[in-house]
């Protein structure tokens, strides 16, 4: 079990190029790289050589778990959306000409996949044959499906569009706020939508009453945001410490955030909330990897600074194994199980 008191055993492997994204699906982890490859890593046999799939011609840009067990979706500069299945097979699902596939997400329960290319996003549902195209005035900066698998949030300039996934047409609900919105997250209860902005700030909306929240004071772009498993905190990057906004008792409005880790160092570039325990893994621009929690729980150092910034992380469903990808192509495999 992962607790701040136990640092875990780290094995570092080199996958060769910038790690664009990390994801987990069942016992399999995957990382997508700047050289267009996707590497599959079996969490049961961390020591085994990863399976390498030549997914894209050009860089991979995004990665997500697919709707069925052990499979992943990656998008790339070659305009392809590729499905990578357990036996390391590769299937091109979509091919667009001259456009990048920049974002992808999927919801297993709803059987829905969504990807975006420029201003357009496409909803591919198990139930319908034809993909549904949804358009925005400016390019999509991030995608997230709500926990229930009913609604999609797509960020763009000046706000977020919320689309009903099951509908075949209709207009989105647009949450407006001036500026460029990038990464997006839903709270576990589905009532809050939070975006990381181009500015060093977060913006949020409470859907039940339309209340806005603006969180600023970051030293760098926030880029990384993750709700803890029960939604008590939103952990964020962009600061030298892991900034955790409280979402209990009416939300973070007017409240100070809790912090942990770091002090006077480089900013946090990746965060991942453990699926079973109230702890958060955080990676820094200098390659440091820590585990901690808001409040007095303390912080454990997993990996000392390597100079190789952490770009992305994923926990396995049991919450006892973690992978962290880096700018230089190293991937840290962290095992918190008792030896």
């Amino acid at each position: 079990m992962a607790t701040p008191g136990r640092a875990g055993r780290v094995t570092t492997i080199s996958c060769g190029d910038y790690v664009v994204g990390a994801a987990v699906n069942g016992r399999l982890f995957a990382v997508a790289l700047g050289d267009g490859t996707v590497h599959l890593i079996d969490s049961e046999t961390f020591d085994a050589e990863p399976v390498k799939v030549e997914a894209h011609n050009g860089a991979a840009l995004c990665l997500a778990a697919d709707i069925d067990k052990g499979a992943f979706l990656s998008g790339g500069e070659d305009g392809k959306l590729v499905r990578i299945a357990p036996a390391s097979s590769k299937e091109v699902i979509v091919e667009t000409k001259g456009k990048w596939v920049e974002h992808v997400t999927a919801h297993a329960g709803a059987g829905v996949r969504v990807y975006s290319s420029g201003k357009d996003a496409f909803i591919l549902s198990k139930k319908t044959k034809e993909p549904r195209k949804i358009s925005h005035a400016t390019s999509v900066g991030g995608l997230a499906i709500n926990p229930k698998g009913k609604r999609l949030a797509a960020t763009h300039y000046n706000g977020v569009s919320l689309w009903w996934l099951a509908a075949q047409d209709g207009q989105p609900t647009v949450l407006e706020w001036k500026g460029s919105h990038l990464q997006v997250a839903w709270s576990p209860d589905g009532d809050y939508v939070l975006t990381a902005m181009q500015e060093n700030a977060l913006h949020g909306w409470r859907l039940s009453d339309g209340e806005h929240m603006r969180m600023s004071g970051y030293a760098a772009k926030v880029r990384a945001l993750a709700f803890t498993r029960r939604g008590h905190f939103l952990a964020t990057g962009g600061s030298e410490q892991v900034i955790c906004w409280p979402f209990t008792g009416g939300g973070p409005m007017g409240k100070a955030p809790s912090e942990f880790g770091g002090a006077g160092g480089p900013p946090v570039t990746a965060v991942a909330a453990n699926p079973l325990h109230d702890v958060i893994a955080a990676g820094f621009e200098n390659g440091t990897l820590i585990l901690g929690q808001p409040g007095p729980g303390g912080t454990a150092l997993i990996q000392k600074a390597t100079g190789n910034g952490i770009t992305s992380m994923a926990w396995n469903p049991d919450g006892d194994r973690l992978i962290a990808g880096t700018e230089g192509g190293d991937v840290h495999l962290v095992d918190f199980r008792l030896a």
Partner: protein, 351 residues
């Protein structure tokens, strides 16, 4: 990241039909031993097989709630962010803008976004000008004027379609808009690529390489005389046709102009700093570009200053060459410039 690993970015502007595509095709097809990532505004006419040609929608937005100097190209931030994940795979980035684009948001992107700033450096803004049609363009579009005013390098193209007299007049017109740009004459964008790429126009340490005349204090601007700028009129000097001083031409458009200020007396660095900040904060919306090489009292090194609208940077670079008389020179390019006020402010910074 040090300056060594920053990838140079050249911005290519120019009105529709001026010859940008011709130039881009040359960069993509010529055997220059370098690999470029080219960001174009639309696919179609250029470089079919080059997988590093990326299409961009010119998506401009205002950061920080509408601050004009924070108007940036969000699409470039995204595209460059992704390109940089393919490390060491290309030597430089070329950004083509549409014929109607304002170059400011492109330039400001490279000073505003932290990631872009850390990993790339703006090398220069190259503007291709159609010599045959420029008079008409300047008469009917603000963009053509802005693109020249913003340029570090102007390619006066299609020179074979105009008479030498007309060309001289056009060059004077370009000079009046932009006293510090290097001007090259071409017929079909036939220019050695090292004249337009990797020029370091925004590198304060290299600012002097671009235009030796700038340092010498010879005003390029044939249409504006300044009382304090009294010792160089009528000088001819041997820097080739690029720097010939044309006779004052009739400038009808009051839109964009340039003002050159200079003095032999050393400036007080603190006073200058306060003044230039006030000027850019107050009028930066109308001032497109500012460049200066300044002699600060008590300093052996030259102070080099440059700004795009309100986004400015300045630093002491190398020592004044012994043979050079120390002389401060500052050039503003913009609209509604109050020459009397700028002159008075500049003179008030004299130590």
């Amino acid at each position: 990241m040090n300056a060594q690993s920053q990838i140079p970015v050249t911005v290519l502007t120019g009105y529709l039909g001026a010859g940008k595509t011709t130039l881009l095709n040359r960069v993509l097809t010529e055997n220059h031993g370098k690999k470029y990532a080219v960001i174009v505004n639309e696919f179609g006419e250029i470089g079919i097989d080059n997988d590093l040609v990326v299409g961009a929608d010119e998506e401009v937005f205002e950061m920080n709630n509408g601050c004009i100097c924070c108007t940036v190209r969000g699409d470039l931030i995204r595209i460059i962010g992704s390109l940089l994940k393919r490390k060491d795979k290309f030597d430089a980035i070329l950004v083509e803008t549409t014929g109607l684009a304002d170059p400011a948001p492109v330039a400001q992107t490279f000073f505003t976004d932290d990631d872009v700033k850390r990993k790339t450096k703006l090398d220069s803004i190259v503007t291709v000008v159609d010599a045959k049609h420029i008079e008409q363009r300047l008469a009917d579009s603000a963009e053509a004027e802005e693109q020249i005013a913003f340029a570090d390098i102007v390619l006066l193209n299609k020179t074979d379609l105009v008479t030498p007299e007309a060309l001289k007049k056009i060059e004077a017109r370009v000079r009046a808009l932009n006293p510090f740009a290097q001007i090259h004459h071409t017929a079909r964008c036939d220019i050695a690529l090292d004249k337009i790429l990797d020029k370091g126009a925004f590198d304060l340490n290299r600012a002097l390489e671009l235009d030796p005349c700038f340092l010498h204090g010879h005003a390029h601007d044939p249409s504006h005389d300044h009382s304090h700028d009294h010792d160089h009129h009528g000088h001819e000097h041997g820097h080739g046709h690029h720097h010939d001083h044309a006779a004052p031409s009739a400038i009808h458009d009051e839109d964009i102009r340039s003002i050159s200020l200079s003095t032999d007396k050393p400036l007080n660095a603190a006073k200058f700093d306060t003044w230039i900040n006030d000027v850019l904060m107050g009028m930066g919306q109308d001032i497109l570009r500012t460049k200066g090489i300044l002699n600060m009292a008590g300093q052996d090194n030259r102070y080099v200053f440059q700004a795009v609208h309100m986004v400015s940077e300045g630093q002491f670079t190398g020592a004044w060459p012994a043979k050079d008389k120390r002389r401060s020179r500052l050039v503003f390019i913009g609209r509604k410039l109050d020459e009397a006020a700028l002159t008075a402010g500049f003179n008030a910074s004299i130590a």
